[in-house]
C-alpha cells in the first residue's frame, strides 16, 4: 500500500513536472489498439473534433492480441509514473485499474450530460466504480452473431437456423454441398467467442451462473458437459486448417463461398462490406441460433487516468467528445458496432446495424444483456485465460467433454 502511494506520488510529481513545462497547451495522450485501417481513421474523427477545441491529441497506438500488448505498455507507463490521459480498455481491465486506484473521476461531466440515463446499466457496470464515472464507453460490440453466405444458405434450404437443431441441419446440408460448413480460426479468443455463444445457447441463466458468477457447480455440471459436446459437434464442421487462422481469413472463406458460415462478433461485417457485399443479399447476419433475444456484448471504453490538475480539463473534454452522439454514430458506422448510447437514431445504420441496435435496446430492457467472457466482459482476465486454456485444449482434442468440464471448474477455481 505504501509502495503504491509512493508510486502515485512520483507519478503526480512527474506529471506536474511535465505539465509545468508545457502548461500552455491542453493535451490528451491516448493509448489504444485501433491502429490501422478504417477504425483508426474513425478515431481520427474524435481527434479532429478535439483539436478544433484546442486540445492536442498525442497518439499512442499499440496493436496486438486485442489489447494485450497495449495493456503491457500501460503497465510500464503507469509504473514509470507517466500514465496516458485516456486508455482504450475492455470490461474487467477497467475495474482492475480502478481497484488499484489509478483512474480519475468523470462524475461532473457525466452528471451534466446525464450519462446515467443513456448508457445501459450493463455497460455502466464497467464505466463506474464506487458510484463514480471512470470511463467513457465508445461502442457496444455484440459477439453472438452468425455470418452466413447467402448462396450457401439458399443451397442448404434457404432458412436461417434459429435453434441448435436447425443449425446442425443447415451445417449438414452445407457439408453435403461440398463446402466447409463452419469457418473458424483456431485462436484462443475465437474459440472463446464460439464457446460464449454455445453456453449462452443453453440459457441466459446458465451463462450467468457459469461465466459471470463462476459457480463451480455450473462450471462442472451436466449442462457444461453438454456445452463441450456441442463444441465437439461444431468442431466436426471446421476444415482441417483452422488452427491459428486469423478471423478475417475465416470471414473471407465465407465471403467467397468456400465456407458456409462463421460465428463471430459484429466487427466481421466490415470484412463483408469491404468486399462489396450487401447484407440480406450476399450475406445474412443472425444471432447465434438459440440466443435470439439475448446479447453478449463487449464495449470499448476510454478509461480516464488520474492525471495532473492541468490535464483534467482536456480529459473531460475528451470524455464529453466520446459521448457525443455524432461521434458515436460516425465511429460505429465504420466499426460495425452500435453506439454505447441507446438514445441515438438508427437511420444511418444498415440492416445489421439496425438489428444490432434494436437487439441491444431490447436485451437491455429485458435484462438479457450480458458481458462476453471471450472479450473481457464476463470475467476478469486471469479467469478468462483459465477458461480459454480449457476450451482451446478441448477443441484441439486434449480432453473429452466430461473431462473438460471438470478441468474448467478446477482451472477457474485455481485462477481466482
Amino acid at each position: 500500500m505504501e509502495r503504491k502511494l509512493a508510486l502515485k506520488a512520483t507519478a503526480s510529481a512527474l506529471v506536474l513536472g511535465l505539465a509545468a513545462s508545457a502548461a500552455t497547451a491542453a493535451e490528451v495522450e491516448v493509448l489504444h489498439w485501433w491502429t490501422a485501417g478504417g477504425e483508426a481513421a474513425a478515431l481520427n474523427v474524435l481527434k479532429e473534433d478535439l483539436e478544433s477545441k484546442g486540445v492536442t491529441w498525442k497518439d499512442m497506438p499499440v496493436a496486438g492480441g486485442s489489447g494485450v500488448e497495449a495493456m503491457t505498455v500501460l503497465r510500464a507507463r503507469v509504473t514509470s509514473g507517466n500514465p496516458p490521459t485516456a486508455v482504450q480498455m475492455l470490461g474487467f481491465d477497467i475495474k482492475d485499474w480502478a481497484a488499484e486506484g489509478f483512474l480519475g473521476d468523470l462524475s461532473d461531466v457525466a452528471a451534466a450530460e446525464d450519462w446515467d440515463s443513456v448508457v445501459p446499466p450493463a455497460l455502466q457496470e464497467f464505466s463506474k466504480w464506487d458510484g463514480k464515472w471512470i470511463a467513457a464507453p465508445v461502442n457496444v460490440h455484440s459477439t453472438n452473431w452468425m455470418w452466413i453466405n447467402k448462396d450457401a444458405l439458399d443451397a442448404a434450404g434457404g432458412k436461417a437456423p434459429e435453434t441448435w437443431e436447425e443449425l446442425i441441419a443447415v451445417l449438414d446440408a452445407m457439408k453435403a454441398n461440398g463446402i466447409t460448413p463452419l469457418a473458424h480460426g483456431g485462436q484462443a479468443w475465437q474459440d472463446g467467442t464460439v464457446f460464449d455463444s454455445v453456453v449462452l445457447g443453453l440459457g441466459d441463466d446458465f451463462y450467468k451462473s457459469a461465466i459471470i458468477d463462476q459457480d463451480p457447480e455450473a462450471l462442472g455440471g451436466e449442462q457444461m458437459v453438454e456445452a463441450f459436446k456441442r463444441m465437439e459437434v461444431l468442431r466436426g464442421y471446421f476444415d482441417e486448417n483452422f488452427s491459428g487462422r486469423d478471423w478475417n481469413l475465416a470471414s473471407a472463406m465465407v465471403i467467397n463461398g468456400e465456407a458456409g458460415m462463421q460465428a463471430m462478433g459484429d466487427w466481421a461485417k466490415g470484412e463483408f462490406v469491404k468486399a462489396n457485399q450487401v447484407p440480406g443479399e450476399d450475406f445474412v447476419c443472425i444471432r447465434f441460433p438459440g440466443t435470439q433475444g439475448s446479447v453478449l456484448f463487449n464495449s470499448d471504453q476510454f478509461a480516464m487516468f488520474d492525471v495532473a490538475e492541468e490535464q483534467v480539463e482536456a480529459q473531460k473534454m475528451m470524455a464529453s467528445a466520446v459521448m457525443n452522439p455524432d461521434f458515436q454514430v460516425a465511429f460505429n458506422l465504420v466499426k460495425g458496432s452500435v453506439p454505447a448510447r441507446t438514445d441515438i437514431a438508427d437511420t444511418e445504420f444498415d440492416a445489421c446495424g439496425k438489428k444490432g441496435m434494436a437487439d441491444l435496446a431490447e436485451a437491455a430492457a429485458n435484462g438479457t444483456l450480458q458481458g462476453s467472457m471471450a472479450h473481457g466482459h464476463g470475467a476478469s482476465s486471469n479467469i478468462k485465460s483459465a477458461i480459454f486454456d480449457v476450451v482451446t485444449a478441448h477443441l484441439n482434442g486434449e480432453y473429452g467433454a466430461e473431462e473438460a468440464a471438470e478441468e474448467l471448474a478446477a482451472a477457474v477455481e485455481a485462477a481466482k
Binding site: 490501422a36 478515431l43 497518439d59 507507463r77 514509470s80 507517466n82 478475417n248 470484412e271
Partner: protein, 293 residues
C-alpha cells in the same frame, strides 16, 4: 588477422563439386523463400493475393502497396505511413549503437590492458547479462526510468538499449583486444600517451573489423526490438517496429497483406543494407576475435 587464404579447399572431383553447388543452391532457395513470399506479394494487388498462389510471381506489378506503406497507410489515428517512425528509429538506433559500441570498446580495453583484481568477475557478470530475458526487466525498468525522469523519452530508450547491449559489445571487444599486442600499449605509455590517448590513437584505429561486427550485431538488435520500443517510447518517439506491428497486427479491420509485406520489407531495409554492405567485413571481423569465445 592475416589475410584470409582459401587454401583449405579440398581437391575433389567434378562430381563432388556439382554436389556442392547443388547443395549450396538448395540452401539459397531455402533462405530466400520467405523473402520471395514477401517481395512478390508486396507487388500484387489485394485481389490477386486473395485469389492466387502465394509462391507465384505477381501478374501485374503494382508499387502502390509500397507507396501506401511508406507514406499513406493508417497507423494509429494518423495516415502517415511508416515514414515518420522510420526516422524515429534512426534517431534512436544511431546513438544507442554508438554508445554501446563505445562503452563495449572501453570495457574491453580496460579488461585486457589494464587488468585489476576482480576484473574477470566483472566480465563474467557482464557476460551473464546477455542471457537475461527482457520480459522480466519491463516493470522494474519502467520504475527506474520514471524515477530518472526518462520515462517515455528518447533518452530513456537509448539508455535501455545501451545497457542491454553492453554484455555482447564488451564480449566482442574483450576477445578482440585480448589478441591485441600489449607491447603496443606499453610502447605508447612510454611515449607518454595517457589512458585515453592509448585508446583513441592506438587501439581504435586497429579495431575496424570488430567495430563492424559489433555495429552489425547492435544495429540489428536495437532496430528490430519491439518490446522496449513499445513499452518505453512515447507518441513522438515510437520506433518503426512498433508502427509495423500496429500496421500488421491490428486486431479488427481488413488486412491489406500487400501493404503489410511492403511495410515489413521497408522496416527490414536498413538492417538488410547494413548486412549486404558490410557482409564482407563481417566474416573478417568474426575471424579477428569474436569467434574466439
Amino acid at each position: 588477422m592475416s589475410i584470409p587464404s582459401q587454401d583449405n579447399a579440398i581437391n575433389a572431383g567434378s562430381l563432388t563439386r556439382i554436389l556442392i553447388y547443388t547443395l549450396l543452391i538448395f540452401f539459397v532457395i531455402y533462405y530466400l523463400l520467405p523473402l520471395w513470399v514477401m517481395v512478390s506479394n508486396s507487388l500484387k494487388t489485394l485481389d490477386e493475393i486473395r485469389g492466387g498462389d502465394m509462391l507465384a510471381p505477381p501478374k501485374d506489378i503494382t508499387f502502390e502497396p509500397w507507396r501506401q506503406a511508406w507514406s499513406q497507410t493508417q497507423i494509429g489515428v494518423e495516415a502517415t505511413g511508416l515514414k515518420p517512425y522510420f526516422f524515429n528509429s534512426i534517431i534512436m538506433v544511431v546513438p544507442a549503437v554508438f554508445l554501446s559500441t563505445f562503452l563495449g570498446a572501453l570495457n574491453g580495453y580496460v579488461m585486457t590492458k589494464w587488468e585489476f583484481p576482480g576484473v574477470n568477475l566483472i566480465f563474467g557478470l557482464m557476460l551473464l547479462a546477455c542471457f537475461i530475458p527482457f520480459q522480466i526487466v519491463l516493470i522494474p525498468m519502467a520504475r527506474i526510468l520514471g524515477m530518472l525522469g526518462l520515462a517515455g523519452t528518447l533518452g530513456g530508450l537509448i539508455m535501455v538499449h545501451t545497457v542491454y547491449g553492453l554484455g555482447f559489445t564488451t564480449l566482442f571487444f574483450r576477445n578482440y583486444y585480448a589478441a591485441f599486442p600489449t607491447e603496443l600499449v606499453r610502447a605508447a605509455q612510454i611515449d607518454g600517451a595517457s589512458f585515453f590517448q592509448v585508446f583513441w590513437r592506438i587501439l581504435i584505429p586497429s579495431s575496424g573489423p570488430i567495430i563492424v561486427v559489433t555495429i552489425i550485431w547492435q544495429f540489428t538488435n536495437v532496430w528490430n526490438d519491439f518490446l522496449f520500443g513499445a513499452s518505453f517510447s512515447s507518441y513522438d518517439s515510437t520506433p518503426i517496429t512498433v508502427a509495423l506491428n500496429n500496421l500488421v497486427n491490428s486486431s479488427t479491420g481488413v488486412k491489406e497483406y500487400n501493404v503489410h509485406f511492403a511495410g515489413a520489407i521497408l522496416t527490414a531495409l536498413p538492417t538488410l543494407i547494413v548486412y549486404i554492405v558490410s557482409g564482407r567485413y563481417f566474416v573478417r571481423g568474426l575471424m579477428a576475435g569474436a569467434v574466439k569465445g
